[in-house]
Amino acid sequence: MDFTIASILTLDGVTNGAIYALLALATVLVFAVTRVIFIPQGEFVAYGALTLALLQLGQVPGTVWLLLVMAVVASVLDAVAGLRRGLPAAAVATGALKSLAFPVAVCAVAWWAAPRQLPLLFQSLLTLAIVTPLGPLVYRLAYEKLADATVLVLLIVSVGTHFALTGLGLVFFGAEGFRNPSFWDSRFTAGPLTLTGQTLIIFMVSIALIVALYLFFERTLRGKALRATAVNRLGARLMGISTSGAGQLSFGLAAFMGALSGLLIGPTTTMFYDSGFLIGLKGFVAAIFGALASYPAAALGAVFVGLIESFGSFWASAFKEVIVFTLIIPVLLWRSFQHGHHDEEE
């Protein structure tokens, strides 16, 4: 190994690490606010990349119909709950229409735009608009009723959701993989390194998103409400913060970050309907570095996971995944020695 190889591997590792960082942040966010260990995080990555791939082919992706069906089911559930509480029918109907308006509009646009092969940027935005609302809907349908259950129950629900979403992914996108076109098809040479435009975009978008998240949590009321919910759910409710709203918002952010990661990673590798799981799992390993609580530690952990992965694939490619996932053990040991034993039910 000389300097050239080391620098190429470092670049590769940091690029993948930037993607893992987004997923790690989403995992930490969801866990802090709702105590859900969000295994299906990776599915949004696959949905993002593959929805764009199908739009590129001029087809209406299956995620559009999933969005529509989930939105209808959610609003029916809301309406039934509203009527049971004795709300007037008119108020219930307006509520349902309001929550249906955005998904229906997105579906209509997707249906109209798909065969027209519009520019890549428009299709990417459309992809984000399709996949992001899936997050709150998944929360609404799978988790909301169980919001006060134990972490273990929520984890089991996550596993189920993961399988359901992966299966739907196979139905929507088929078994074969896709590779999206690059957003920026130029190359820059710096010494032995070749930076592609896509790599630069990955870095810039990741950093911009991390800064935006920081500002969101520090400066906006909604961000502060999320933080309050993360610190103490009951306390937050007493202060008039809707914990269910906070849950939906955090899942929305998670789905957005997942879909964005999918768009970023799509041009650099072949995405399959089930590729998201492993990518998401690496984000989860990174989140463990931050003990599912610290955003900066999770982001650093993600870069570390990316580096270990790329150097591991150079030295011992047959054991790469083993190396990456074994990392979790020393980290957990260190964490548990540092903090002692916590009983999660306390």
């Binding site: 591997l9 590769d12 993948n16 993989g177 590779r179 590798t269 072949t270 089930d274 990518i279």
Partner: protein
């Protein structure tokens, strides 16, 4: 009253025998999970199977094994105990097919594997493989390499049974034929997002040719990875990559790649002297009529070949015993072993007592990717 009872009993017995006379085939395929890209096209062709062979009705039961060996075994157990099948087929995923073999052997049921599954010696008494073994394909590839002056090869393959069997068979065949040396071995997994590390190491070893062992669209990412690191030599892909998906995902980077394949997918370009030309053309015509132009693939071809074999073997077996019996199953097994040289869409089969792989070395074809299409070398 008693007469009616007797009548009912007789009728039931008659119906039962009539039902038993059907030839029952239990097929376990990965319709979901990582190997669904193989299972789905096979199932597509199975839907086009004839409804009867040699005057007997075929009863075909297809179950999904989700690329999961445990599920495959429970499917095989169900076939044997509940459905009392005469023939087990599947799975298209190697680990699943291996796991199913025990159940098939214990019950004395012939198993047609849709994957090149390696079993320990003596364990494959009841199992026959329909796809080409890696050794046969490696044979064709090594001959091509020798002709093109390739002396050294870098290996980049899946970390699973498919990658492993290619590495072992390639090395063994190459030694036998005096072919190229494998100078570097690197691994990756289908879900990997990058092969930069592996590609760096392989390119540094600077072999004359690169052998990439992966399947379907998953074969494009490592190919692009090697090209991106500035590799200029020849790149070979295996028959699991011989689908349109390689070209679709790989784009201009896979241009000029060499891919091994069975003859089933390119009947138009086969020389008139090739034994499989007519059957391959028939397969492609039937498959594309049902699923559209360009939908042909080699996995559907294996399902086609299963019927070719059955049409040859079943008449003899039916003479010896009745479907549904142990003797019938043994007769099918013996029949396949002694059916002799049989031309199928994927080449020429010739099973013997010691060789349940079947294919002769006239099978493998080397294709070159030219302008995004296949060209026979």
């Amino acid at each position: 009253m008693k007469a009616i009872k007797t009548l009912v009993a007789v009728a039931v017995t008659l119906l039962a025998t009539a039902a038993q006379a059907d030839i029952t085939i239990g097929i376990s395929l990965p319709l979901t999970g990582p190997a669904s890209g193989l299972g789905i096209p096979m199932n597509n062709y199975i839907k086009l199977w004839p409804t009867e062979i040699a005057g007997e009705k075929l009863k075909v039961i297809v179950l999904d094994d989700a690329t999961d060996p445990t599920k495959g075994v429970s499917n095989a157990k169900k076939f044997v105990t509940e459905d009392k099948v005469d023939i087990i087929m599947g799975s298209a995923a190697t680990p699943v097919a291996i796991a199913m073999a025990d159940t098939a052997a214990e019950s004395g049921t012939p198993q047609f594997m849709f994957s090149p599954a390696v079993l320990p010696t003596g364990k494959d008494h009841w199992a026959f493989r329909l796809p080409q073994g890696t050794a046969v394909m490696a044979h064709a590839m090594i001959e091509h390499m020798k002709k093109n002056g390739v002396k050294t090869v870098g290996f980049l393959g899946y970390t699973d049974a498919y990658g492993e069997s290619w590495l072992t068979d390639f090395k063994a065949q190459s030694q036998q034929l005096g072919g190229p040396q494998v100078v570097a071995v690197e691994r990756f997994a289908r879900a990997d997002t990058s092969v930069t590390g592996q590609a760096l190491k392989l390119v540094a070893a600077n072999p004359d040719a690169m052998l990439i062992v992966a399947s379907g669209s998953g074969a494009a990412m490592p190919h692009k990875g090697v090209v991106e690191r500035g590799y200029k030599g020849k790149i070979y892909q295996t028959h699991a990559a011989a689908s349109r998906d390689l070209v679709r995902v790989g784009g201009k980077d896979v241009e000029g790649a060499f891919v091994t394949s069975g003859p089933a997918v390119i009947p138009e370009q086969l020389p008139a002297s090739h034994p499989s030309k007519a059957l391959a053309a028939d397969f492609v015509a039937k498959y594309e009529k049902a699923y559209g132009a360009g939908s042909r693939n080699q996995f559907g071809g294996h399902a086609y070949d299963a019927i070719v074999v059955l049409e040859k073997v079943l008449p003899g077996a039916l003479k010896k015993a009745k479907p549904g019996t142990k003797e019938f199953r043994a007769a099918i097994r013996d029949g396949v072993e002694t059916m002799g040289r049989t031309v199928v869409s994927h080449g020429v089969l010739n099973y013997t007592k010691d060789n349940h792989w079947g294919f002769t070395t006239e099978t493998g074809v080397i294709l070159k990717v030219v302008n995004g299409d296949w060209k026979v070398e």
